[in-house]
């Protein structure tokens, strides 16, 4: 795979994107700014017989929107979809420094309904911010959320291109009923990510390596500013990721830093590295931290979400981890491969026995309501209010998961 060089030696030329035998659904753009001579485009594409003319037309359009008048553009296309082509051209242009302050926004797909603060978040599927081939079909695998990642899966030199690509993706790709989330970079770089993506109304922002509540507030303020400027009224939730001993110690303060925090999660790779311990499949070394996160989240009234299980081939290990995670009080976890989604959903699903018991409790409650009885009882046992609350929530969740109708 040939990669583009973000740090182009000449300020007059730059490139963006990827091409080569192994590359699918991406495009490589070489960009050579000049003072005269107009726009000159050369195109090589594996889909040229079908879309060659369309790609040339789109390139001219994008250059027009970016205000680029004199340029030599060379395009190696590997079957990239239009929103990807636009992002790569814009990234190359900005790297040359000719389109500063300008954007080329592709036609917008209608936004889905706003995300609810306490919606189902059993699974979030990681999509690397520089691998566009995974985006278009991600929602077919039905995770509760997709997470467009600008942090660890994107090379330092590719951050600028990735955030343009993620912006276009949020704008154009139909993610169905998935919550559309973005993991920004650690602050302060993450603020540049926010500037690019918040205008496209992501449903939730994940902030990595949070240690202090002020970091959450900084992100929250910036989101609020951009929302205000763009007239966005729908909510954009925040999920801080705690990835250090200090972060875990401050879990409750972080979870309560803003009312936009909808969930709290933990990153175990970095956490175990911070402790200098080995991360095991059983996770004994992180039991305290995970319990702490669960407790802080519940105390703050937000969801506790677990880390990822990184061995894609180990389905049984994933299932065990997920079941233990649910038992410990987490409501979901990350998925690094679509194949993990179903297993995670099954693991976070209430058991048939739990559902049966909860339904009996709810039925008893409804019967008591009908009879105008203050005390709810099931058989010979009186049902305490917290038991009832838990049963109501469990039945509601099971319905949302499609386990019961």
């Amino acid at each position: 795979m040939k990669s583009s060089a973000a740090d182009a030696t000449s300020p007059r030329s730059a490139e963006a994107g990827h091409w080569g035998e192994e590359v699918r659904s991406d495009v490589h753009v070489s960009f050579e700014a000049r003072d005269s001579g107009g726009v000159e485009i050369s195109l090589e594409s594996r889909v040229a017989p079908y879309y060659g003319a369309a790609i040339l037309e789109q390139t001219r359009e994008v250059l027009g929107e970016l205000g680029v008048k004199h340029v030599r553009v060379s395009i190696h296309d590997e079957g990239a979809l239009p929103f990807i082509i636009a992002a790569r051209i814009e990234a190359a242009a900005r790297r040359v420094g000719v389109a500063l302050g300008k954007r080329s926004l592709p036609a917008q797909h209608p936004l889905p309904a706003p995300s609810q603060k306490d919606r189902l978040r059993r699974s979030r599927l990681y999509l690397p911010g520089s691998e566009p081939k995974y985006y278009i079909n991600a929602s077919l695998h039905a995770p509760d959320a997709v997470i467009l990642d600008l942090e660890d899966s994107v090379h330092r030199g590719e951050k600028d291109a990735a955030r343009i690509l993620v912006r276009n993706t949020l704008r154009t790709v139909d993610f169905g009923s998935c919550e559309r989330t973005v993991r920004i970079n650690q602050l302060p770089l993450g603020l540049e990510d926010l500037a690019e993506v918040v205008g496209e109304s992501p449903d939730l922002i994940l902030i990595p390596k949070v240690e202090e509540p002020e970091q959450v507030r900084e992100v929250d303020r910036m989101i609020a500013e951009i929302k205000e400027r763009n007239g966005i009224i729908r909510p954009i939730w925040i999920m801080p990721i705690l990835e250090s001993a200090l972060g875990v110690e401050n879990a409750f303060a972080v979870a309560t830093a803003s009312e936009n925090v909808a969930a709290l999660t933990i990153g175990l790779e970095d956490y175990t590295a911070d402790l200098g311990v080995v991360k095991t499949a059983e996770g004994g070394e992180s039991q305290y931290a995970r319990s702490r996160v669960v407790n802080a989240a519940h105390a703050a009234g937000v969801q506790a979400i677990d880390s990822v299980f990184s061995d894609v081939a180990d389905v049984d290990g994933l299932r065990r981890w997920g079941e233990a995670s649910r038992a410990a009080g987490f409501e979901g976890m990350g998925c690094i491969h679509p194949g993990q989604i179903r297993v995670v959903h099954e693991a976070f699903q209430p058991t048939a026995i739990e559902i049966e018991r909860a339904r009996k409790v709810v039925a008893a409650f409804e019967e008591a309501q009908n009879k105008r009885l203050a005390v709810v009882s099931l058989g010979s046992k009186m049902i305490d209010p917290p038991v009832l609350q838990r049963a109501l929530k469990l039945v509601e969740r099971a319905k949302a998961m499609g386990v019961i109708s």
Binding site: S25, P49, Y50, Y51, G79, A80, N137, L140, H141, P338
Partner: protein, 525 residues
């Protein structure tokens, strides 16, 4: 026929409205009349009667080399020379024979392989030199490009495995000399494919050649004392036996291990196919199915296997191309038999060699349409691929959307006669839509294709209301959608593709299973 002559070819229209030439390589053609509408007449072809007096009583038919064998067969200018493709991309024998023919000095041969492979691209040189006039058989890669660029002197003729048997049997193609690569053989010419260092499993594709050719040469790198048991090719049909060091590269004959797709999207397709068979009740005790060796098909077998176990269902038979995944079904008692046309991996070859329930079949038993029935129509469900499917369920397997030759037909057309024909494919590849308004080349008429399963949903052919009823009766949650809706989704994602400009000169034809001409492959401009 020269290129110039070809420009004057007259065209007629098939029952499906496709323009096809009325003459191909000097022979008049019948355009496709609709499925089952062509009535063949006359008697089958037959080679000349031979006499034992012309063959050695010792049974030893060996000659020193292939060139000698071809000379003794009387190979002359303009003859038809045939090969089978069971050694796939590892085959050495076909080129060996054609190069020997070149040394003899013959010209204008028609090469009639059951399929050609990229490693045989030297055939282009032999066409340039005039040794080969044209090829009738699947062409892809460099050979395909040579054909679609209009460089071949004759027209390419693409036939299904069953169609090739039919063409030989009916006398449409008369094979003068058949050269049969044999992984094991005796001096009498009995030959077997499932043993020897170059083992490939079945030799079924060579059956028609051995029966109907005037002369047959067996070429082997594993000569065993008479008798070669089992014999898939009967020595009584063989004129000469040639021993060589190597008939092929074992690494390319069969794959060491066949790979299931790892693409989540393709796995999703495979799983939906299996769910569909379960939801419609096709997956029931005693049922049968066929799936190829593509990544989706292999994954489908694994999903179906799991469901068969869960539901306690066992198949009566499954049809190969066999792989280790079918072999496992057999070994785990989930099917009584594998009826195998070709063998794709080492596990398949070993199983055929050692397990009497793993049976070698031929295009005669499985696919020949001009017979008293064949096995393909007895199969309950078949899972196939395609490069394009249109909104009328017509499908293309032979060309890219830009008109270049991509694949042979293989058994694909013949399999369409199964009880439920399912195409399992992504709705687009690299921005190129697979669900289209009209296929580039019709390889299968839409009336034969029942279900199209894509990652974006399952389209059931409106002609198969019974399947739709069966799925809905079970209250299945499968995403059943009109094919037009899936096409609309794809065009929204990819944009509407321009239609590539095709030339107006035919460079090959696609035959239907009955020998009529189904469509034309046009020269790429």
């Amino acid at each position: 026929m020269s290129v110039k002559e070809r420009e004057r070819v007259e065209l007629a229209h098939t029952a499906a409205g496709r323009a096809v030439p009325t003459m191909v390589n000097g022979k008049p053609q019948i355009p496709f009349l609709g499925v089952g509408n062509y009535q063949p007449r006359g008697r089958k072809a037959a080679p000349a009667i031979c006499s034992n007096k012309d063959y050695p009583d010792s049974g030893d038919k060996r000659v020193p080399d292939l060139e000698t064998a071809l000379r003794k067969c009387g190979l002359r200018d303009g003859m038809v020379i045939s090969n089978h493709h069971h050694l796939r991309d590892g085959d050495r024998v076909a080129l060996m024979a054609l190069e020997a023919a070149a040394r003899i000095g013959v010209k204008d041969l028609m090469w009639f392989p059951s399929a050609s492979f990229p490693s045989q691209k030297n055939a282009i040189e032999l066409m340039e030199k005039g040794v080969i006039h044209h090829i009738e058989g699947s062409m892809n890669g460099p050979l395909g490009d040579y054909c679609t660029q209009g460089n071949m002197r004759g027209m390419g003729v693409l036939r299904s495995h069953g169609g090739r048997y039919q063409a030989i049997q009916d006398g449409e193609v008369h094979v003068d000399v058949a050269v049969i690569a044999a992984p094991t053989a005796d001096f009498f010419g009995n030959a077997d494919g499932s043993h020897g260092k170059s083992a490939c499993g079945s030799l079924g594709f060579a059956l028609a050649d051995s029966i109907y050719a005037d002369r047959t040469i067996v070429v082997t790198d594993n000569l065993v004392p008479f008798p070669c048991v089992p014999w898939q090719i009967q020595g009584n049909n063989v004129d000469f036996v040639v021993e060589v060091d190597s008939i092929g590269d074992p690494a390319k004959i069969v794959s060491g291990s066949t790979q299931i797709t790892r693409s989540p999207d393709r796995l999703r397709i495979a799983e939906m196919v299996a769910q569909f068979l379960r939801a419609t009740g096709i997956m029931e005790n005693g049922f049968s199915f066929q799936a190829g060796a593509g990544g989706i098909a292999l994954a489908f077998v694994q999903y179906l296997k799991q469901m068969m176990k869960e539901d306690g269902v066992k198949a009566r038979f499954v049809r190969g191309g066999s792989t280790k995944f079918l072999v496992e079904l057999l070994q785990e008692g989930l099917t009584d038999y594998i009826l195998d046309g070709q063998t794709f991996d080492l596990d398949g070859v070993k199983s055929m060699a050692n397990d009497p329930r793993h049976v070698a079949t031929s295009p005669f038993t499985s696919y020949n349409y001009h017979g008293k029935g064949n096995f393909a129509s007895l199969v309950d469900a078949v899972v196939l691929g395609a490069t394009e499917v249109d909104v009328n369920f017509n499908a293309n397997v032979v060309t890219h959307s830009d008109g270049r030759l991509l694949h042979g037909i293989g058994g694909w057309q013949n399999c369409l006669f199964a009880g439920c024909t399912i195409l399992a494919l992504p709705s687009f590849r690299d921005r190129i839509p697979v669900i289209v308004d009209e296929v580039t080349t019709m390889t299968g008429p839409g009336e034969m294709i029942d279900v199209v399963v894509t990652e974006r949903g399952i389209a059931i052919n409106p002609r198969r209301a019974d399947l739709l009823d069966a799925v809905t009766a079970q209250g299945s949650k499968l995403p059943i959608r009109p094919i037009q809706d899936i096409k609309a989704d794809v065009e929204k994602i990819c944009g509407k593709p321009a239609r590539p400009k095709l030339g107006n000169r035919p460079c090959a034809v696609v035959k239907w299973v009955d020998g009529t001409v189904l469509d034309t492959v046009w020269q790429v401009s």
